[in-house]
Amino acid sequence: MKKRVILFFALLLSLVTGMTAVTSTTAHAATDNSLTKVEKKGTLVMGTSPDYPPYEFQATVHGKSQVVGMDVAVGKKIAKDLGVKLVVKSMSFDSLLVALQTGKVDMVISGMNPTPARKKSVDFSHTYYQGGYSIVINKNDKGIYKDKDSFVGKTIGAQTGSTMYNESKKQTSGTTVKGMTSVSDLILALQSHKIQGVAMEKPSAQAYVANNKELAAIPSNFDLSASDTSASVAFAKGSTALVTKANKSVDQIKKQNLVNKTYLPEAGKYLKTNTVNTSMWHYWKAFLTGIKYTLIITVCSVFFGFILGVILALARMGGGGVLRTGLRWLATAYVEFIRGTPMMVQVMFVYFGLGLIVNLPALTSGIIAISLNSGAYVAEYIRGGINSVDSGQTEAARSLGMSGGATMRYVVLPQALKNIWPSLGNEFITLIKDSSIVSIIGVSELIFQSNIVRSDTYRGVAPIAVIMVLYFILTFTASRILNYFERRMQHD
């Protein structure tokens, strides 16, 4: 099962749990309203990372892209038994547990195995599926490799931080283990002979082999405990009532062997329809959505970041007085802090951290985080711009009786902005590119969409090439437009 533990995820998790240790954990434990809450709102929100066929993946159903797979079928069954509607929320695998703890989702079904480490922070249902591992190889090599022990002097690939990654390292000798984040990348590496095999779960292996004639699967023969190969539904810690209900559904699924009899074959069907047309033209709608969100995020963030930047710059330039000094100190601290921390962490902090207080949609969180980030940088440009305006301008305005505020607004700022227009333009272009970071919280911008297309089509490079061109078109157009305005402003 997938068991990725990436460093900042762990950090953020400890931060968030630390922050809420007093409030939420005790509150959950004291009064378990998990079930009534779900029943009251009439929806059960399932978090999943749809890049893992046949567990969960994106498919085009009736012309619309949606998340399908056996995990979604499990989720549907649980929701149906509860008498509520299932809502599927996509995000990166690393974000799932935080989303659960911060109440963004009611449960996580994402091929997740109930390891002891995870059991410390979340509650698990009974196991709904017992899997195993295979190794995917190039069909031409079929005679050479038999199982995990045949790769001496060769390289096996696995998802970074996953169980198969760790086990491949432990249970082979003389074999190099190469970790990559996504399975599509691993398959690509396999086909370009950078690695000789990819360790993954049996159903996933079957899906890949069924969809790619060049590939074949061999048994792995890893020695594994049951908890490392089983999949369970995760719930927030202390939601016993909800877990008990879900266990009834899970037990039925097991008893009637629904996964193997119904869910997997169904998922397989989607995989087939999915790969009928892997041309990039077929996915123009997905890319268009990506462009739309990338632009929405960039334009909104530039707008709000600019306003914030002006406020910060003015606060930083404030003179005497306790209040003004305090504000200046705060603004300076803010700018330094934002510039000294990665935007990715800021995005996650706004989505999950602020999410504890107000439930913000991913898109809003992304715009807020990037605006907050951009504001700190814009503030410095504006401060430089204001300083570059000759002090004689201020004196002339003040000598005419204009107040400090009016002088700033009508005389200094317009000139400062003209001076820093090129820097602001660069910031805009940078944001077009950097907005891609919000893909980690599941906003459907270009990178996110390209990942979906990649797992949809099993094509590793083409979607990347497409978005590369798209990004270039966006930034190039933007810089042409900005240059045009720059020239127009230069006439005086």
Partner: protein
């Protein structure tokens, strides 16, 4: 006796350890033209800037129209600055606005004149300084003499009671000095109260009511131009004049 419009009492100003103005007590009556002369670095600009509080005096007071400026709050000071137009050596026109917009800005934003009234006023003032045909030009396209005349018109737009000039012709090519001085002379003829820092001795002789000689942080002499130029009292002034008139 007429009440003075500006009264300076024991004015002192220091920048750190640099005591630029030491102890100045003088007054300006309505309609008077005062020319302030003196060696470079003697504190003339600082003195002028203390009059409209662009510079905050270290001690002493500046009374304008009977009100002690140094005790007023910011808002009141802003209001009183409207009554004292200032013209700078370097013009300080707003480069991102046309000539007309330069003049209209303060009347519209401070006095809340509507656009039509401000435009009308601006054209009148531009006609007065002989530049109405440049109303739509940007400052960068003007000659120094033209720019300074626009700056004078801009200051006049607030209808001030007093005009302060800080070396208005020092940055100009010689052939343009005359056009600016004649605009100033005309203002003086109309009865404007003026305090002018300048090195133009001809202007001082023909237009000034009083010449203040400033050096080492004090007004060393305060006399009519005739007296001052023909019969300077202090060695400091004699020395200064001998250098200038050479």
């Amino acid at each position: 006796m007429t009440k003075p419009i500006i009264e300076v009492k024991n004015l002192a100003k220091s920048f750190g350890k640099n005591d630029v103005l030491k102890d100045i007590t003088e007054q300006v009556n309505p309609g008077q033209v005062i020319v302030v002369i003196g060696p470079s670095g003697g504190g003339k600009s600082t003195f002028l800037r203390c009059l409209n509080l662009l510079e905050t005096p270290t001690s002493g007071e500046v009374d304008f129209d009977g009100q002690n400026l140094t005790t007023l709050d910011t808002k009141k000071v802003n209001e009183l600055r409207e009554e004292m137009g200032m013209v700078f050596q370097g013009f300080n026109l707003f480069p991102n606005m046309t000539v007309l917009e330069n003049i209209k800005l303060a009347p519209m934003k401070v006095k809340h004149l509507d656009d039509a009234a401000a435009t009308k006023l601006a054209h009148e003032l531009l006609t007065q300084v002989n530049l109405d045909d440049h109303a739509d030009a940007f400052p960068s396209s003007l000659s120094g003499g033209q720019a300074q005349r626009v700056a004078i018109a801009r200051a006049l737009a607030m209808n001030p009671k007093v005009m302060l000039f800080d070396e208005p012709t020092s940055a100009l090519d010689p052939e343009m000095v005359g056009e600016v001085l004649s605009v100033m002379q005309e203002l003086a003829n109309q009865g404007m109260t003026m305090v002018v820092v300048t090195h133009e001795m001809g202007f001082a002789k023909s237009v000034a009511d009083k010449v203040w000689f400033m050096a080492d942080g004090y007004i060393q002499e305060n006399n009519t131009p005739e007296e001052f130029f023909s019969n300077p009292q202090t060695d400091r002034a004699k020395d200064f004049l001998s250098k200038i008139l050479m």
